[in-house]
């Protein structure tokens, strides 16, 4: 019996080794992200991983070492999927993720990955979604009947188990302890579940994460198409503002949700606005969303004020007065009356629907235009918004017509 196994393994090894000459020398994986981008690279990674798994199995089985390894059947299955699998990435939390066969059943406690999965045309693999996705029938009409797995704070483990997922997409940099809890609970039930930790809402990791997910889901082409679109919109903006010296950048006061509540530190809105060339007057603060002293805003005299609205405007309303009211309130604050932004009427209101999640590039486009109207005359955020919805989200662009997102409109 034992002998037979050894022989089997050796055969596998031999097979692998023998296949080596057939491979062209693999190009280094994708230059930006280390993600394999063509069949050869995929195969190279698969080979490395499979060899490693076999070695682990052998060491554990015959040398009695304690290493994490696959079971015999799993290993056999993994080998049978070669050279398309195994696939391996390092996810955004720095964890090594290996999958040995095609992903078929995904649940998404991280709702921010939904638009990316849509852009990758991979939503047919989703079997359970979080409660916010279900509630948002306007943006996710096709998911309203899916199993509701709760949220990262209040996961519904029973529903999760009912989904019998093979893959769970969690957050990488936020809700860490909640995501860890979900991982340990689910892997106790089924150790074969794969956990992918990605954010999907950050500009800094958007491209990389899309590429990695595309690779893991065998949607490499779709991923590249989406990345082309995304980068095609944002990179020209970055290229224009990147070399801009600090003293030439427009001084912005960002106001989130309520008066004198700003974004700084590691806050996403602060970073997004600085990415498109804004100079946040509160960039030095280390708190992410602090309350600030109103007179400090007066004193720092921003050239532009951007108010980010949450409940006002968005996909679900066409009443522009919600946004214009916010702008009017800021314009009428006595302490801001002499501030350059107010005097020059450069106070803008934007709804967070287009500045958060995957759609953040739309909002960033608007902000870039507000900050540097002369530099971005050809930039058309609204057209990008429409294309994003129709081409990558499978939605109608009537959502744009029926919603209000910015005030004043461009």
């Amino acid at each position: 019996m034992r002998m037979k196994e050894i022989i089997a393994c050796l055969l596998v090894m031999m097979f692998l080794v023998s296949s080596m000459p057939m491979m062209s020398v693999p190009a280094a994986a994708h230059p930006d992200t280390g993600v394999p981008s063509n069949p050869d690279e995929i195969k190279a990674v698969a080979r490395t991983v499979l060899v490693d798994e076999i070695m682990r199995y052998l060491r554990a089985t015959y040398l009695g070492e304690t290493v994490k390894h696959l079971g015999r059947d799993a290993l056999r299955e993994a080998a049978s999927n070669y050279p398309h699998y195994p696939r391996q990435i390092t996810d955004s939390a720095g964890r090594e993720v290996r999958i040995y066969k095609p992903i078929k059943r995904i649940i998404t406690p991280n709702g921010d990955c939904m638009p990316v999965l849509r852009a990758l045309n991979a939503t047919d693999k989703i079997v359970g979604v979080n409660k916010y996705t279900i509630k948002n029938t306007l943006f996710y009409p096709e998911f309203s009947n899916y199993l509701n797995i709760g949220s990262v704070w209040s996961p519904d483990y029973e529903e999760m188990v009912c989904c019998s997922p093979d893959t769970v997409i969690l957050y990488a940099t936020i809700f860490k302890s909640q995501c860890e809890a979900i991982e340990s609970a689910l892997s106790a039930i089924d150790p074969d579940i794969t956990f992918i930790w990605v954010d999907c809402y950050r500009p800094s990791s958007q491209v990389e994460e899309a590429r990695k997910l595309g690779y893991l889901l065998e949607k490499e082409e779709e991923a590249e198409k989406w990345i082309d679109f995304y980068e095609g919109f944002l990179n020209p903006i970055y290229d224009t503002v990147d070399d801009m010296p600090e003293e030439n950048r427009i001084k912005v006061y960002i106001e989130c949700w309520k008066p004198y509540h700003t974004a700084a530190g590691n806050a996403g809105w602060h970073k997004k606005i600085e990415l498109v060339g804004g100079y946040n007057i509160f960039r030095e603060l280390t708190v992410d969303y602090p309350d600030v002293d109103p007179e400090n805003v007066t004193y720092q005299n921003p050239e532009v004020i951007i108010r980010i609205a949450k409940t006002e405007g968005g996909y679900d309303t066409s009443d522009i007065t919600e946004l214009s009211g916010l702008r009017g309130e800021i314009m009428n604050r006595p302490e801001l009356a002499n501030v350059t932004a107010v005097k020059n009427e450069r106070v803008y209101v934007i709804n967070s629907d287009i500045l958060s999640g995957t759609g953040h590039f739309v909002g960033m486009g608007y902000i870039a235009k507000w900050l540097y109207p002369d530099l971005f005359t050809n930039l058309n955020p609204e057209a990008a918004h429409r294309r994003y919805l129709t081409e990558f989200q499978g939605l109608s662009d009537s959502l744009v017509n029926n919603g209000v997102f910015v005030y004043p409109s461009i």
Binding site: P259, P290, D291, V292, D293, E295, N296, T298, T311, N338
Partner: protein
């Protein structure tokens, strides 16, 4: 023998007069402290205006011929600093007076303006507005009116229960605890269905802040205080008598039930009208009455005004620190009141000889 008694009496009288004088002195001292703190706080802030400019801006309003002011100084002082300072003073005053009255009518040292579930009811009302957008009026006043109406609803619920079941402190406190749990559970339920940003808004509201200061809300709170506080001061003796027990108070001619109910409703009204603008600022109402009592004793004729002024000092002091310590970031004042007030409270508690309670 006779003359000796007279001498002794005179001595005692003098002693008592001195004792009373000390209390008045303490109140006076606190009043001066509030004034100094106001004057000091008005000069602090991140706008680059000098102390001289601050005071010229203040005086300019009254004697425009004699004092010059710049637009910046004027707007910073009159639109930002003074409203915030004044809101701190009146909110501190109101919360402290409400706390003192609650402790007296419930004869309970742990009572505070929030004992009867007022805070959790207000928080529920505010959450209802923030999370579901449901309210009695729409628009920008939805949170304020919701918080106010629900806070008053809680106190009327207590009133109803007390009428039915008797107005003893025990009944009212237990009813208050029940109501508190009911509303916090309801708030939790709302929060469960809320989205991330909304949740944060609720959390921020519950921290309490003087950032929403405006001349309008200062006027509203002041009117409530002007309407309620004189009545409570006038009832000082009744509050003193109730400290001796309900029967004793009744035998001294106090309409105990009436004073308790009216006191409870007025304290709730004061609290509700403050926290609907500021969010929940908890520490003042519980601890200022105790701190005052440790210094000048339990006579409400002096205790009420003194703890009012102490409340103003503590809240204004805490807010001044909160907005300057890591300026331009403003720390929620509710956090700062505890950081500043607790050491002071513990110091007084330790310094006191013998048992306080």
């Amino acid at each position: 023998m006779e003359s000796e008694t007279i001498i002794r009496k005179t001595a005692l009288k003098e002693q008592y007069a001195k004792f009373t004088g000390r209390k008045i002195l303490f109140i006076f001292f606190l009043l001066v402290l509030v004034l100094l703190l106001t004057g000091f706080s008005a000069t602090l802030g991140s706008a680059p205006i000098t102390i001289g400019e601050v005071y010229s801006a203040i005086l300019h309003r009254f004697f425009s011929n004699h004092f010059e002011t710049s637009w910046l100084a004027n707007v910073v002082v009159w639109e930002l600093r003074l409203p915030r300072i004044l809101l701190g003073i009146i909110a501190g005053t109101g919360l402290a007076v409400a706390g003192t009255v609650m402790q007296a009518i419930l004869r309970n040292p742990l009572a505070s303006p929030f004992t009867l579930g007022i805070a959790s009811a207000a928080a529920f009302g505010a959450s209802l507005a923030m999370i579901l957008g449901v309210g009695f009026v729409g628009g920008e006043y939805i949170i304020i009116t919701n918080a106010f109406v629900f806070a008053m609803l809680a106190s009327f619920l207590i009133y109803g229960l007390a009428r039915y079941k008797g107005t003893t402190p025990e009944t009212m406190i237990l009813a208050g605890i029940a109501i508190m749990y009911l509303f916090s559970a309801s708030t939790s339920l709302l929060k469960y269905f809320a989205e991330v940003e909304t949740l944060q808004e609720v959390v921020f509201w519950m921290f309490g802040s003087l950032g929403r200061a405006s001349w309008t809300n200062i006027t509203i709170i002041s009117l409530v205080l002007i309407a309620c506080v004189p009545y409570l001061l006038w009832k000082s003796w009744d509050l003193n008598a109730m400290g001796a027990g309900d029967e004793a108070a009744k035998s001294l001619g106090v309409k105990v039930e009436q004073v308790r109910i009216v006191g409870m409703l007025l304290a709730s009204l004061i609290t509700a009208s403050i926290i609907c603008f500021t969010g929940i600022i908890g520490f003042i109402g519980l601890v200022c009455p105790h701190m005052t009592r440790m210094v000048i004793g339990g006579d409400h004729r002096f205790l009420l005004p003194a703890s009012c002024v102490l409340g103003a000092v503590v809240l204004l002091g805490a807010d001044t620190v909160a907005r300057t310590i890591i300026a331009p970031v403003i720390i929620p004042v509710g956090i700062m009141t505890s950081f500043l007030g607790v050491p002071l409270f513990l110091y007084l508690l330790m310094r006191r000889k013998g048992e306080y309670w």
